[in-house]
Amino acid sequence: MKRLISYDLPANAWIAALVAAIVLILAVLPLTTPSIRSVNMAAKIIVFIPLAASFILLIGYTGIVSFAHTVFFGIGGYGLALGLLNSDASVSGMLTGLMLGVALSAVFGLIIALLSLRIRAIYFAMVTLVAALVTSQLASRLTWLTGGQDGVSFDIPDALSPGVRYWTVPFSDVPVTGKVLLYYALFAIAALSFLAMLRIVNSPFGRVLQAIRENEFRASALGYPTTWYKAVSSILAAVFATIAGGLYAAWLGYVGPGSTLSLNVLTDILLIIVIGGSGSLYGAILGAVVIIVSENYLQSLIELLIPVSIAKSPAGTLLSGDRWLLWLGVLYVVAIYLVPEGIVGMTRSGGRPGDRRAIPGPNHSR
């Protein structure tokens, strides 16, 4: 078990318990509730965890602040969609489309990394933001390829579609459809991606990334060609974001500029990182849950807590459910003040006290 998570335990028992609870809930949710809204929300969380984790790999571990991350998410979505459209919804078409997307993203990730070396941080951040907006515009304009503003709806392979019914869960009476199967495919791929990233950041390579973030000058003096490390890290982050994009499109059966490339998606990622913290990949899990759950339920929660009579009064406008976005903003600002390093960062120092405990003896073969 500890090997699976690369000996990288969340810093404190509470956070570990929270993470475990989240994973458990996500794992059983579609078998316990027929609520489409809950399952959709859970699927979005599942997709955004590797997406945000890949952003943490880039920003938290490598120190490249790029806003072009949505571009990779979009490439994954469109790649999968076009693959399915051009192959009569076959699994191989889906995978081919996604793989082509991954290849394209890798090239783009390399370009981003090389740009970051040429341009200083603040301008680089602006350049990447422009790149994200331009890509979004391109997707809206190249109608023949992308379906333009409306995006593309497509059929998912039959085995994964809601119409196919496999089984009924005995106690909850929830039908296990192809869509539920798709949910678990998402879950498995997202989990594998997350564990792969966890391994990467705890490998010798990941340690070099941290060293570069801390003191690039010194890292190169130790003999690490830092440029190449940044490039590889940027490519890896791009690849994982692309996979997440493919997952999201598969779940929605749709891809469009709004669902993958828009500023809303970027805002989501940034909020997740701010809430969860960028010092540890676990921040992606906690951040994604907090942000996506509040986006879905803050409105209802506020409506539930604040009686209509108060909400309708002049002073009550601030408290009406429609203002949920405002309150999310407040939550965000409070979070920045209270937990500047995010929920996970709060209790974790850069050193990994556990590191040395796990050293195997010299004759250990692995």
Partner: protein, 255 residues
């Protein structure tokens, strides 16, 4: 110089200019295996800049650098480190938010060319962790391995700087005032470590140091920098008794 062997590292007509200021001016100097050369000179003489040129942090305005006969003037910093040009820094230059152990392990895994290994875990690398502990032990920091580097005392950070250079196991060791700011009882451990490197076959050591007793113990040769130029170079006793050295160096910086 009359040594027949190829120099481990050598500078030929090396100069660097910052705007109008020539910080290193036409320096030619060879450094040989098995010898410790102390580099002296008042503050601002260009000693650190000379190191920066040798290890590649700065590119010379003119001149060449050779490493065992090979022209490395255009090599990047990381490339030079890889082939064996090792450097410890005057101003402590570490990874502050990583643990002491991790700082040394980064040096060990750099030497082992393991940096791009992303399939294995750091904790699993055969030998690497043991070697990191070995070098921490050498500077008496093993018990502080789990601490963040930023929480170490100045003296401990200086020792860690030395441990990282040792862990790189370079051919050429450049120490830039390794004992500066250390308490008196911390100095001997560094001196002993440098002595031990001298005893290892095939190592050239360049040491910038102000403490005369350390230089007397360790130096096989002294090179004096002044205003970016080498004004004296030779046997320690001879150099220290040269009038020009007494004037520019002892007269001003140490008296």
């Amino acid at each position: 110089m009359s040594e027949p062997a190829t120099a481990a590292i050598s500078a030929t007509d090396l100069s660097i200019r910052f705007g109008g200021h020539v910080a290193v001016n036409n320096v030619s100097c060879q450094f040989y295996d098995g010898k410790l050369t102390a580099i002296l000179g008042p503050n601002g003489a260009g000693k650190t800049t000379f190191f920066n040129l040798l290890s590649g942090q700065l590119a010379p305005t003119s001149g060449q650098i050779h490493f065992y006969g090979k022209d490395i003037t255009r090599y990047s910093v990381s490339h030079r480190a890889k082939i064996g040009v090792g450097r410890a820094f005057q101003l402590t230059n570490l990874f502050p938010k990583l643990s002491t152990f991790e700082n040394v392990r980064l040096a060990v895994q750099a030497r082992g060319n393991l940096g791009f290994d992303m399939a294995r875990l750091s904790v699993d690398l055969p030998g690497v962790n043991e070697q990191a502990e070995f070098y921490l032990e050498k500077v008496a920091l093993l018990s502080k391995g789990d601490l963040d580097v930023r929480s170490l005392s100045h003296g401990d950070q200086r020792k860690l700087e030395v441990a990282m250079l040792l862990a790189l196991e370079p051919k050429v060791f450049m120490f830039d005032e390794p004992t500066a700011g250390m308490t008196i009882d911390e100095v001997p451990i560094i001196v002993e470590l440098i002595q031990a490197i001298k005893q290892t076959e095939g190592r050239a050591i360049l040491l910038v140091e102000h403490k005369m007793d350390i230089i007397k113990t360790l130096a096989d040769r002294i090179v004096i920098f002044h205003n970016g130029e080498v004004i004296a170079d030779g046997d320690p006793n001879e150099v220290m008794s040269m009038p020009i050295v007494q004037d520019v160096y002892l007269g001003r910086a140490l008296a």
